[in-house]
């Protein structure tokens, strides 16, 4: 397998992991709105459902993208596809 297709394989793997985490926080948990609301786990005292939609999921996305960017940079470096920095 060529270097390029190996690189793409890994990139695609990272994409699937990223999208899986994204799915959980953007869609998955909201199938359980009422269950979350009834949960005794209450971050900062807010009902869990309320907390996730106004802060929790949003924060998860911010962290997820920073993590994704770092991982992708590592993959690019591994195969020598990272750009020369001149900025």
């Amino acid at each position: 397998m060529s270097k390029q297709s190996q690189h793409w394989e890994k990139t695609r793997g990272l994409l699937f992991i990223t999208l899986a985490i994204w799915f959980v926080f953007s869609i998955g948990i909201f199938f359980f709105g009422t269950e979350m609301q009834a949960s005794s786990f209450r971050p900062f005292g807010y009902p869990l459902s309320y907390y996730m939609t106004c802060q929790g999921s949003l924060l998860a996305f911010v962290i997820l993208i920073f993590w994704f960017a770092n991982r992708q940079e590592k993959i690019d470096e591994e195969f020598g596809f990272s750009e020369r920095e001149d900025d």
Partner: protein, 607 residues
Amino acid sequence: MIKGKFIDNLPKVYGIYTGGFLVFIILMAIAEQTGLMSAKAIGIAFVAFTVGIYAVIGYLSRTLQLDAYYVAGRQVPTVFNGMATAADWMSGASFVAMAGGIYFKGYGYMALLVGWTGGYVLVASLLAPYLRKFGCYTVPDFIGTRYGGNAARLSAVLVLTVASFTYVTAQINATGTIASVALDIPFEVAVYVGLAGILICSMLGGMRAVTWTQVAQYIVLIIAYLLPVFWISNKMGAGIFPHLMLADEVARIAELESQFGLGTIKNTAADLATVPKGLAGITKAHSSVNGTNWGFISLAVCMMAGTASLPHVMMRYFTTPSVKTARRSVAWSLFFIFLLYSTAPMLATLSKLSLIDPTLSTGIIGRSIADVQALDWYQNWNQAKLMFVSDFNGNGTLELNEFFMGGKAVVLATPEIAGLPYVISGLVAAGGMAAAMSTADGLVLAIANALSHDLYYKIIDPKAETAKRLIVARVLLVIIGFAGATIAAMKIQGILGSVIWAFDFAMSGLFFPLVLGVWWKRANSQGAVAGMLLGLLSGTAYLIWVRNGGAGFWGVTQLTFGIVGSAVSLVSMVVVTLMTPAPDAKTMAMVDEVRIPSGKTVLGRQH
């Protein structure tokens, strides 16, 4: 000119700017306390001062170069591009209408918060870095080159124009609303005042001017949004840091809701007919789950896919120096957006509690109607047609179901209701103006660039010289601005409604053709054209059907019609692609090239 040095000195330049703005706020506060300036003068000063600065930045960033005009010379550093994208993204709707939406509709509405942030994960992982590597000027530029042929390019221009134009009328509407309140001029005039500001920022310098004004606008809008919320929260004794400390207030609202009989006491149709158009009462629970799971999820999905297809956002990532910085820049964008979005529900909570809690001095529910009608702020906002009370049951006391407010009032009026000095209201007006202007800039530029680059240069006159291309681009900018303002002045749809539609249009036509262009090598021109046109068509048809009383299916409403559009788009794109020949070897090689970050861009630096 100032270019090289300017880029190196960005933190310093914007640091001084932020400091200067804070000094201006303090000066205004002093002027108010000493009685030197009237409330109206302060409002005018805030809007005039900030718009004046944007105009200066717009003028200083003027350019005669193509890559500066279209992609800001591709040298915008990561964090600053993040700020510019955040301003580009957070529109008048986010700033003036979103907290209001949450105030009225509660949990179900907060799907917008999830959707408008979650979409950035798709932008970062599926599209932005690859489109940056491509080196295009506009989104149709990518579609046209990747798939080949004028049909694909033209279809992309069509979808882009429909989606962005729907969006831009909402933004010009928002600038008009704020300018008319702050400057005390009629809405129909204020719309054109707003337009003038938008054009000054974008006309001379294109993307370069828009970038640097957007950074300045972000700083104004984030200060204007956060400062009042922290202030009110502290003033009410709700908590020093509202985001983490409002649990008691959220619980208290739920308690009051049941005490006041929310959902059990209903207004008659005859009573509601006396309420001015556009105002609403509180009819939905604030924090508890108040709709179906699917209703929440479908709205979030539409906003996420729409985010990844809206050209004015994607275009911002064409301006970074490299693929790597484009990726990082998405993360920073979302961080800056998060600062405002996580604050909106807190503002809605504080605003609602301060109005409905009878134990607070600001609470009006349970007081006599005559008392409420005598309040200064009530009279102001009633006059602005944003507040209304009526004694439906004739008991002389204001009940929860007898109080009506416009969505915009939550952001614009809360500082005044909570008893903050007027300087804060002036600041909020400047912030709202910044938010609406920055998005309108980005959108008008996205449409004008697509028409000038993709339609005029690539299709009509490929031999046109640089100078001529830039003139055409600017003329189109003015025409589109005026068209947008004219339609905005007619007030066809509310701000938030049109914004949500724009996302659905973009998602219907562009989401799958863009994503599959990178991730599915086999995708070809015929498939993409079918996907774009049939997606847009079926989405629009569904919208018209539901608007005219159609029953709809799958629980898809007029706010989520993108689900139908994009499903049709995906199916038709895949089917047509498989029925027609695979793209040629050159196109396949091009897709391979796009997938690795290093090396030259696919399209040349000037094209």
